[in-house]
């Protein structure tokens, strides 16, 4: 009797394990789980845990290194498998134009009321139809105050003084790299007319000789280590340097800055849009906002949160105190559309110049 049972039990076990394997292959298609793609370290590490604890919705984090990567992946794969993406505004705009992101139902995101009024009138998406701002800020100069005077103009970076030659870096992401030249020349950041591009190209090729490197990821470390004295930087990222060394300071040159906005979008392919909206709503909550800002040291467009910030934080990182009315006067980067081809060629020209 036991002997006749044994094969059957083996068979049952086999089918069970096969089913398990198939389930594994089929992937995690749980109804109540969302997948979020964000830059590594761009949200507090326990945010997802807290979200799950509060809402009962499981959330998983996937990391991307750059806007470009996640964009390429979403375009090639149609965004399948992802529910929420963190991308900068021009990329959100392009994803929207490609029809890959869903409209956000404001009724399901009541915390949208926490946003500054300025944050609901952003040029790329007025009224926040498909994207919610997560963090915003400026691009300026981050420098070692113990080694140089405060820079005042973008030209201080593009044509550095002799003792700064070989000790400055610029952002390698093309839009911000070109942005420095556009601002220095008093042009629009989104101007892709041939004349403007040529002027910017000449200026940047000249500037290239005096650069230590193009760097959009470790520039603040170069300041800390002393390899660089001045770098083109996003304000929030400069704060990481300031945290390491109080002699590091941030300034916006007189010609101005761009207003960059990192946004949250929900993919059209998402099968859990309601859960995704709950997540967006959760991130926009006051408590979460406070805690995001004080952990990642970026300004958030979350009025409720910013007003509740510890003043000591703003004292240590003065750029955290910038007001939305100041920010909104800067131009936002937009998707370049038809101008992109010519723009890309100009960037290649600059990168390839010897």
């Amino acid at each position: 009797m036991t002997t006749s049972d044994a094969p059957r039990r083996t068979f049952a076990r086999l089918t069970a394990s096969t089913a398990c394997a198939l389930a594994l292959l089929a992937g995690a298609a749980h109804a109540d789980k969302i997948v979020i793609s964000n830059w590594d370290g761009y949200m507090p590490p326990d945010l997802l845990e807290k979200f799950t604890a509060e809402t009962g919705i499981e959330a998983e984090l996937s990391v991307h290194a750059t806007n470009e990567e996640i964009m390429g992946k979403v375009v090639a794969g149609g965004g399948k498998g992802y529910d929420v993406l963190f991308v900068s505004s021009p990329f959100a705009e392009a994803l929207h134009n490609l029809g890959l992101v869903a409209d956000i139902d404001h009724a399901k995101v009541p915390n949208v009321a926490n946003l500054y009024p300025e944050a609901t009138e952003l040029a790329h998406d007025p009224g926040n139809a498909y994207s919610m701002p997560y963090a915003w800020g400026t691009t300026g100069l981050c420098y070692r105050a113990d080694r140089m005077e405060e820079p005042t103009s973008w030209m201080d970076l593009l044509a550095p003084a002799d003792d700064l030659k070989g000790k400055v870096t610029m952002l390698s992401t093309d839009r911000w790299l070109m942005g420095a030249a556009a601002l220095a020349l008093g042009k629009s950041l989104n101007d892709t007319s041939t004349g403007t591009l040529t002027e910017e190209e000449e200026l940047l090729i000249k500037a290239k000789k005096d650069l230590l490197a193009y760097d959009d990821s470790t520039f603040y470390l170069k300041l800390v280590s002393g390899e660089a004295t001045m770098v083109q930087a996003w304000d929030g990222w400069c704060n990481y340097g300031i945290a390491e060394n109080a002699e590091i300071k941030y300034t916006i040159p007189k010609e101005g800055s761009d207003l960059w906005v990192d946004t949250i979008v929900i993919t059209k392919a998402s099968e859990n849009k309601d859960a995704a909206m709950k997540f967006v709503d959760y991130v926009l909550g006051q408590d979460t906002g406070v805690w995001v800002a004080s952990n990642i040291l970026y300004k958030t467009p979350n009025k409720a949160a910013m007003e509740a910030l510890d003043p000591a934080l703003i004292e240590s990182f003065p750029n955290m105190g910038m007001k939305p009315e100041e920010l909104i006067k800067y131009e936002q980067l937009r998707d370049l559309g038809k101008g992109q081809k010519e723009f890309a060629r100009t960037v290649t020209q600059i990168m390839a110049a010897q």
Binding site: E68, M71, G226, A344, T348, Q349, M351
Partner: protein, 284 residues
């Protein structure tokens, strides 16, 4: 009949795999090269040859040439470094040879990014090399070793030389020792023996290793990105940028096809030369 069957059993899984997971997907992408970039980065299905015309622009050709130069230099240095090392290992006592080889490959079980990053640590202004040079009084100011072609080549050589050592070692190891002795016996000085007897017999190993370095270098984008300070673009970066930054898949596809064509030509030249060398070897 039976040979056909055997061939099918051996070849079918591999070729099937490559057909399914390489040929078909790539064919798909390569058709994009004949269409236009959509305004927001998709594909507009309008037939055009424009992408190929653009690829022939001196700007892009210049990048191709420069990449070839950098990859070529990396290949050359890798071989110059690897050959004597491989030769020394074949001359070491038999019982140590395996250990010596394992130590060549061991560092490469860490991670490419980490190894490349290690060179940032080594080469920067405050890095070990500059510190040592200043300490030794060779220079008073730190030398700009990082974020230039030099650093890129060092990075490529560092990452790929071990494979060249393996390739050359295995070809050296197959040489009939007596041919070396024969040459010495015939009165050839050491270097002549090397040039006329040892090198020709190992040229296939050198070629195999060299092509490996060249091919992986020219398409590389991480090393130029991290060690070149983004300053110089190799064709790998260029293609990467077209697909990701510029979101111009049609142009990226056209550039890729061009790169693949160039490398295919190169590999065939190598194959022909190798076969000829092997043919001569057999005839004599």
């Amino acid at each position: 009949m039976r040979n056909t069957l055997k061939s099918v059993i051996l070849l079918a899984p591999g070729l099937g795999w490559l057909a399914l997971f390489m040929v078909i997907p790539c064919a798909l992408i390569f058709t994009y090269a004949f269409f236009e970039r959509g305004v927001y980065g998709g594909i507009d299905y309008i037939f055009t040859f424009e992408n190929f015309q653009r690829a022939a622009d001196p700007l892009y050709l210049g990048i191709f040439l420069r990449s070839a130069k950098i990859a070529g230099l990396a290949t050359l240095f890798a071989i110059l470094l690897a050959y004597p090392a491989a030769y020394a290992i074949t001359r070491a006592p038999q019982r140590y040879q395996t250990a010596l080889l394992i130590f060549v490959i061991l560092p490469f079980w860490s991670n490419y990014l980490i190894r490349t990053y290690a060179w940032i640590v080594m080469l920067n202004r405050e890095g070990l090399i500059n510190q040592s040079l200043i300490g030794l009084g060779v220079t008073s100011e730190p030398l700009p070793l990082l974020y230039n072609n030099f650093a890129v080549i060092v990075g490529l050589v560092y990452n790929y030389t071990p494979f060249v050592v393996l390739a050359i070692y295995s070809s050296l190891n197959r040489i009939n020792r007596e041919t070396i002795e024969a040459s010495e016996d015939l009165g050839a000085p050491g270097f002549t023996t090397f040039r006329r007897v040892i090198l020709p017999q190992t040229i296939t190993g050198v070629a195999a290793g060299g092509v490996f370095v060249f091919v992986l270098s020219i398409g590389n984008f991480i090393t130029p990105d991290l060690l070149g300070g983004g300053r110089l673009q190799m064709v790998g970066n260029l293609i990467y940028d077209q697909f990701l930054s510029a979101r111009d898949w049609p142009f990226g596809a056209a550039l890729s096809m061009f790169l693949i064509a160039v490398m295919m030509a190169l590999l065939f030249t190598q194959a022909v030369l190798t076969n000829r060398a092997a043919g001569e070897g057999r005839a004599s």
